[in-house]
């Protein structure tokens, strides 16, 4: 691990001022915010991340979960994943989020990992984590080792010729269906970002993963009021039953009346280069009978643009069955 200066600001303004001196807020940033550390310290040990300064944001009071005046929920940046998953309001009104978080990592890691840290969770692509190998995400312009290499777990949706790395987060898949809003404070004040706009597709700049600029501090995430009567499911398929990243996962928030789907929010995990909301599947579902044939059509629509790599063609069918089964669970009596 490279040496760094450890900085503990007294308030968010100090944290932002310190971070604003960074050349980038993306891969290879010279200044990093430190929250739970479960991703960042891991990558610093591998020399994938080599910040010269670490700004500890754990004591800025960003660790609260509060009701919003509009009936939604405000989740602080440094709320631990375990506290979020077990919060009574989350369990009752946003259970897809609780299910998703509890399906990820281990109890120890969930006690450390934070809301904002999970938003910024990095890919598990083995080439990204190995500084001896070319990787466009880690070092722009060096090439993608995964396209011609080991790619069984990598993305089939949203990839480019530069990068096929999967976004590994479970929490983010749930937040996509809940249409969360991300609140950012930066040099020029505060702004809000719809969840769908927060993560970027790799395109020709896979080293840019989010819209964050130097000095931008995610302060909290808000959820809109819960949708009354909606059924919520997070289904995760993986190589072992626990403590493993998804090969495919599906988050479903579904409302039905008289046997017909009236509202659907669908997102997939483990298959996309970003948390993968599927408006295509949602469009197929709404107004149709909540039946296996409808669910299968929705899954076909969600994976229509899938482009598998040499080792992961199986993920196309796996993701379809995952979504179909999640929809079945969400409509079961």
């Amino acid at each position: 691990m490279h040496t760094f200066e450890f900085i503990r600001p007294k308030n968010p303004a100090q944290a932002i001022a310190a971070a604003a001196k960074a050349k980038t807020a993306q891969q290879g940033a010279d200044i990093r915010f430190l929250a739970g550390g479960t991703t960042l310290i891991d990558l610093m040990k591998l020399n994938v991340e080599t910040p010269a300064q670490l700004i500890d944001i754990n004591r800025l009071g960003l660790d609260k979960i509060e009701a919003t005046p509009g009936g939604g929920l405000k989740i602080g940046a440094t709320v631990r994943n375990s506290d979020l998953a077990h919060h009574p309001t989350v369990r009752r009104d946003y259970s897809v989020l609780s299910q998703a978080i509890l399906s990820g990592a281990s109890a120890q890691l969930r006690n450390m990992a934070t809301t904002a840290g999970n938003l910024l969770q990095r890919t598990r692509c083995v080439y990204f984590r190995d500084t001896t190998m070319p990787c466009n995400k880690r070092e722009a312009g060096t090439g993608c080792s995964a396209i011609t290499g080991t790619n069984r777990t990598l993305a089939i949706l949203g990839a480019s010729e530069q990068c096929i790395a999967t976004n590994p987060s479970d929490m983010c898949v749930a937040l996509a269906t809940l249409e969360a809003t991300i609140h950012v404070q930066g040099r020029k004040g505060s702004r809000t970002v719809p969840f769908a706009d927060f993560h970027l597709l790799p395109g020709n700049t896979p080293q840019r993963e989010t819209m964050l600029e130097p000095g931008d501090l995610v302060t909290h995430v808000t959820l809109p009021p819960p949708v009354a009567g909606s059924r919520q499911v997070y289904l995760k398929l993986r190589d072992r039953v626990s403590y493993e990243f998804a090969l495919a996962s599906a988050a479903v928030v579904l409302s039905a009346a008289g046997g017909n789907v009236t509202r659907a929010r669908i997102a997939l995990g483990g298959v996309g280069t970003k948390p993968w909301r599927s408006p295509e599947a949602e469009a197929v579902l709404v107004g149709q009978a909540a039946s296996d044939s409808t669910f299968r059509k929705a899954a076909e629509a969600a994976l229509r643009d899938a482009k598998p790599q040499s080792e992961n063609a199986f993920k196309v069918e796996l993701a379809k069955r995952c979504l179909t089964h999640a929809l079945r669970m969400a409509t079961a009596a």
């Binding site: 040496t3 200066e5 430190l34 890691l109």
Partner: protein
């Protein structure tokens, strides 16, 4: 040999005829580290860390950890993980280093009562916080119920993962957890046992849960 309280500095070279292999290795290792990287269990003033590339002897940071109920005023390189701080600086070697990347759980300790992977946390992040390690749970004469259950149920073979397993299991008792074996397995999945003692670990945890 005389018993040493957890976290007390060890006398080096004293009574070599009664020094066990374990205590010798711990003592030698501690002195070596203190000499080499200036990480020490001392009271000192905070200094700003140095830019990359400068010598380790400067740039250490001061912090206080309350470990197993006792205050430790330490100076460490900011890169020092909580795990390395416990093992190398404070000489509490009951907490084990397995993968060092948060994948095996051998390094599990409690911070303010909650279980964490000490390998993925920097010591300086925990200034002023309370840490509990396996040394703080029980003593050979008065085992913690979970330690006793692990012995009674034969819940280990080589023992390397055991302190992490026990720290996880003790924390689990205070967490939301269903009553089935499957629930225990799910919440213990962050602790890998290469010997494969899982079934007996579940038995030990369930035994303590039933009597708790």
């Amino acid at each position: 040999m005389p018993k040493r309280k957890s976290g007390e500095p060890r006398a080096v070279g004293a009574g070599t005829s009664t020094v066990s292999r374990r205590s010798f290795l711990v003592s030698a290792g501690t002195v070596g580290i203190v000499g080499a990287v200036d990480a020490a269990d001392v009271t000192g003033q905070s200094r700003a860390a140095d830019p990359p590339g400068t010598a380790d002897r400067r740039g250490t940071v001061a912090l206080m950890l309350r470990i197993n109920g006792k205050e430790h005023r330490l100076r460490v390189d900011p890169r020092t993980t909580l795990l390395d701080c416990l093992r190398e600086t404070v000489a509490l070697t009951g907490t084990k280093k397995g993968c060092d990347h948060g994948q095996c759980g051998a390094c599990t300790v409690h911070v303010n009562g909650r279980r964490v992977n000490s390998c993925l946390s920097l010591a300086v992040m925990h200034d002023g916080e309370s840490i509990t390690t396996i040394e703080g749970l029980g003593t050979p004469e008065a085992l913690h119920p979970m330690q006793a259950a692990f012995v009674a149920c034969d819940a280990y073979q080589c023992g390397y993962c055991t302190s992490g397993q026990i720290m996880s299991a003790v924390a689990l008792l205070k967490e939301p957890c269903g009553s089935d074996d499957a629930d225990v397995k799910e919440l213990m999945s962050g602790n890998i046992c290469r010997c494969g003692a899982y079934q007996n670990i579940v038995t030990a945890v369930q035994q303590v849960r039933r009597t708790a």
